[in-house]
Structures are given as structure tokens and as C-alpha cells.
């Protein structure tokens, strides 16, 4: 069995170059790339998630760990049959129509990617129709809607309605986020859940797909 100590330590430290180098060493030693991802990288990221929850790791450290994991995966990818890494799911993410604020959404994107999701970032000012089209095109399991303004929250409701009319609500979970959003609003508009902060968004997505 390969020694995963170095690659896990590099991910936990958020050190991209060390993570990539450790991955290369493992490949050179003949390690199974899929096994490295499952038994080392995913385990390290689970530890990162746990440490974030307890306040031991801060968001920038979590994001750097996620980037270190990605750099290791880049090294491992060519050695995986088919070249594809199985993702936790596909998420279409964006700030709703009329909303130009994207810091929260960008943080959620990074946290989702760190959690193993493939994220399709639609940016800001995204109409309900654009969300629907992107979800269909990418066969998304999750659609994440972000809004900072009370005036743009109305487009969250319209987006949920459009997905219902398109008959996609049994295939796609819709989650909400942003300062004005709460549990009551989420229920009112018929969404599947909301995250109070970026840190809990990825956990919510995983929970909904479990």
C-alpha cells in the first residue's frame, strides 16, 4: 500500500506545489490514481471540512487546501482510465437577475469545488431562463441561486416556478443563499434548502444528493 502521508499533509497545508509533487511521486511508484484520490485526497478534504466546522481552519486555508487538491488531481488525471474523475455532482450557480453582487456566490463556488462538485458558474444577473438552459445542458443535480438584494429575491421564486413548469423539479434540487434569504422564504418559494453561509452550502448540496 502506498504512503499517503506527504500528499495528505500537502493538501492540509494548502501547498499546491508539494501536493502536485507528492502526486507525481505516487504515480511514479505505480500507485493507482483513483485510489490516491479516494483514499488520500478525499480523506484529506474530509478532514479539512471537519476542521472548518470546528473553527480550526479558516476559509482562505480551506480554499488553498482545495486548490492543492486540484493540483494533485491534475497530475493524477492522465493516469485514470477515461481521464475523468467522478464528481460529487454538477451544480449550476449564479446571482439572480438584477443582482450584481457575487462575492457570496464566488465563495460558494470555491467551497463546492473543494467538496468535489463540478460547478458551472453563470456569473451575475442570470435570468430564470438562463438557469434552466444551463441546468439542462449540463444535466445539473443542483441549482444554486444567490441574491443580496430584496428586490432581486423575486427572481428566485420565478426561477423555481420555471423549473417546475419545465418538469425538472424531481431531477434538480434548487438551493438559495444570500443575506436576505431565510428558511421561511425558502419554503414559501418552494426551493429545497438554503445555506446561511458559504461554508455550509457544499454540505447542504451533499446532504440533498445523499
Amino acid at each position: 500500500m502506498s504512503d499517503y502521508t506527504k500528499i495528505m499533509a500537502a493538501v492540509l497545508a494548502g501547498h499546491k506545489a508539494n501536493a502536485a509533487a507528492a502526486a507525481q511521486v505516487l504515480v511514479d511508484e505505480g500507485a493507482d490514481a483513483i485510489k490516491v484520490i479516494e483514499d488520500a485526497l478525499n480523506v484529506a478534504m474530509d478532514e479539512v471540512g471537519a476542521k472548518m466546522k470546528t473553527g480550526e481552519m479558516f476559509i482562505p486555508e480551506v480554499l488553498m487546501a482545495s486548490q492543492a487538491m486540484s493540483s494533485a488531481i491534475d497530475v493524477l488525471k492522465p493516469h485514470i482510465k477515461g481521464g475523468e474523475v467522478k464528481s460529487a455532482g454538477t451544480v449550476v450557480l449564479g446571482s439572480v437577475k438584477g443582482d450584481l453582487h457575487d462575492i457570496g456566490k464566488n465563495l460558494v463556488k470555491l467551497m463546492m469545488e473543494g467538496g468535489g462538485f463540478k460547478v458551472v458558474d453563470m456569473g451575475c444577473d442570470v435570468s430564470p431562463e438562463q438557469f434552466l438552459e444551463a441546468a439542462k445542458e449540463n444535466e445539473a443535480q443542483i441549482v444554486g441561486l444567490s441574491a443580496l438584494l430584496t428586490t432581486t429575491m423575486v427572481h428566485m421564486e420565478q426561477t423555481v416556478k420555471l423549473f417546475t413548469e419545465a418538469g425538472l423539479r424531481d431531477k434538480v434540487k434548487i438551493i438559495l443563499g444570500g443575506a436576505p434569504v431565510d428558511g421561511r422564504f425558502t419554503t414559501e418559494v418552494g426551493a429545497d434548502g438554503y445555506a446561511e453561509d458559504a461554508g455550509s452550502a457544499a454540505a447542504l448540496a451533499k446532504e440533498l444528493l445523499a
Binding site: G104, V108, T150, T151, E196, D197, A198, G199, S200
Partner: protein, 480 residues
Amino acid sequence: MSGRLSVELLSPSEMDSIYEKCLTILSTYGVKVDYEKGLKFLDQAGAQVDFKTQMVKFPVDMIEAALKTVPHEITVRGGLDKHDYVVPHPEGSFYTTTCVQTMLYHNPDNNEFEDVTQDSFAKWCQLTDHLPQIDICAIQTPMDVPRETADIHGLNIQLQNTSKPLMLLAYCFESVPYLFDLMLARQGGEEGLKERGLLMVNPTSLSPLVYKDMDMEELFLATKYGIPVAANSLVVTGGTGPVTTAGTVLLTSTEILAMLVMSQLMNPGNPFVSTVFNTSLDMMTGSALLGDINTNLSRAAAAQFIKAKFKTPVETFSYMSDSYSCDGQASVEKSLMPTLDALGGSDILYGAGRLGGTTCASPVQLVIDNYLTEISRQFVAGVKFDEDRLALDQILEAGAGGNYLTMEHTRDYCRDGVHPELFNQIGLDTWKATGKKNLYDRAVDKYKEIQKELKPQDLPDDVVKEMNSIVKKADKAMCS
């Protein structure tokens, strides 16, 4: 020392360094203006505009010319003369503003948060009108009106329920003309609005370094009528701005300076307030924190820097709290923060009545903040010093073992201090006998007592009719 106490959070050389870097950012990198009309205007005014990237660079001489035309003192006008405020405060004090864009309202009857309604917001405006330490009334978001026109409904409610100056924030580009139509109706036309602007208009940067169409249009319209522009920088430290306090001061000041230059290009001499509204990103959760002490330091430091280098009045996020109840946390945050901001040099302290970060308002907290303001005002006013107050004659008269209670000197000055009636000043037995009430309980009682006296403004029927018809017109045009 009396007049206005101050603290130095930055040294003169540190402020020179920040100023130099503000100029460097604006003249060599620039800002992004996401509005064709704004780009064309700035191009004609002599800024270096790249229409493709929407980036605008401001030459140093243009920036320095704007700093020469921007007024160092402005007057913010309310609906009545008694609510006209000269900023900075002529006696060295500061002004206060209520919290903005709230959606949830704390109902003291059931101690629950409920949606802000037209009725609750009207009562809020009337309460603001009543409280002596609260000077400016900011817009909230009534949730029982169409969301697309909530800002227009909100301004209509403000205009009909308080005579204090207003803080206005447009929620979308389309609503801006209706907001100005409402003010024109309230003031009986363009001349009336120019003479008595009633409010400050708050264009906001989309940090870092971006200005949207809505905010640019607010700048155009405010400067057209000579209305004070309170230009907000809403940097989120560690998110949309550097994580460090010094870096936050630099980015915040740069964003404000860009709006200052634009406002002075549009109307040289237009009243301008530098509004420091930065918050911090909680590095554990990703939430924006408003009561955080590090952000407080950056706001107070930015206030000191801007007062020294831009010489404009300054407004700061000051009565902010991340607590959802009128508790110890809220009291600590709402005492420390306004006091430090005022000591840093802030002229207008924003956020009275705010709870729960950006989302909630409490009329009971507003009553408490009214009293906390009284304390902060007394504190920053410092020690009044003259021969009479030094009381040498009285000390000698009382001599060893005497008392001062019956002296004229004591009678003359005994009302000078703050007597916050919400704070407990009774003995234990009386406290027990009167229900063991804490600060919150006493503030609820006070609020209920004040409620009986609240009433809307007495405006002519035809003015109210015209204002209501503008709101209806907006609903029809903007709501699906």
C-alpha cells in the same frame, strides 16, 4: 479639553502614504464604470476612458482639482428648518442615522421578527421624528408592496411620516426617476427641491472599484439638483477588499475618492459626504460581519484619513451589531463603535436601531440607541474647562469636610451630565418591587409610552395625492 476629543489611529506619514496610493490607483489603474452615459461624460470631462474595458483613469490634476471644489462643510436639510444640519457639527458633536434596507422588524409585543410593513415603517419614521438624538431617517424595505418598487413605496412613506432628513438608496436603475419625481412632488418642483433637498443620495461602489449604472444615474440626478451625495464604499475585508485594516482604509478611500471626483466633475461644489460602510468577512463561515472590532478600527481610521486628506464630512457604519436581540452584545457593539468612529472624526454615525447584521431593525433598540448616543455625545465632547468650572472658590468655601449640595454652583451645573433614564438608577428593593426590569424591559416601556404620541406629517392633501399617484404609476410600469 473640550469641543471634540479625537484619537489618532494613523500618523501623518501613514496618511501621506495612503493618499499617494489612492492617487496611484486612480491615475494608473482606474475604476470600472459600467454605464455608457457615465463613460461618455467622463471622457468629455477629460478622464482617460477605455470604452471597451469600461475602465476610467483620473489624472492626478483632475483629482486634486476636485478636492479643491468639494465643500468642507455642507448642510443636510430636512422638511423643517429645525432639522437642517450643518455638517461637520458646529459644536464638535456628530449626527446619527437609522439603519437602511431592513426587511425584518422586531415586534416588542411578541418579541418576534416580522416582515417590515408599510404600517411598521411609517411608525418607525414617526419614532425617528420623535427621538431627539436620532437625526436622519433611512429607508427600510416594506414587504407588503411589490418587491420591484419597494424603494419607491419606502420613500413615499418616509416623506409622509418624518420631517427629518432622509437617507435614500435606490434598489434598481428603473426606480431612480420615480424617486426623484416623488421628491419633486413633495417639494413642489425643481426650485423647491434645490432649495430644500430633504435627503442625501447614497450611490455605492460595487467593491472592488466598480460603479454600476444605477449608482452612476443617482450621481447624475443628485448633482443635477445639488443634493448632497453620500458616496458609499462597501468593501468587505478579506472578500472584496484586503483583509488588513490598512489595506481596507486604502481601498475604501480610493473608491470614495473616485465618486468624489465624479460628483465634482458633474457639479463643482456639489455637497459630498464620504461614507465608509465597510464590513468584514467572517473567515470561519463566509458571513459578512458588521459589529466586528477590526472593521470598526478600519472605519475609524478611514474617517481620520478622509477628514485629513479629502476634508469632506464623513459618515460611518457605527450602530451595527451582529446580535439578533437587544442584549449585552448589542449594547457593547453600539457603545464602542459609535464612540470610536466619532473619535476618529466621523460626522454622521449610521445604523441606529439595527440588529442582526444587515437584516433586522428594532424600534426598542432605536430607543436604546437614542440613549447610547446621548452618552457617546457627552463623551466625545470632552471636558469643559474654564475658571468657573474649575471651582476653586467653591472648594475653598466648602473647605475640609464640607458639602457642595446647596451651593449655587452645584445647582447651575448639575444638569450638565447625562442622565440616561433607561439605565437603572434605583435601589434594590424598588427594583424588585417594580418587576426586576432590565434595560430591554425599560426600553419596551419607553417605546410604548412614545408610541401614543406618534403621528404622520401634516402635508397638503394634493401633495399626498400626487405622491401616491407617482407610486401607483411606478407599480404599473415596473411590476410584472
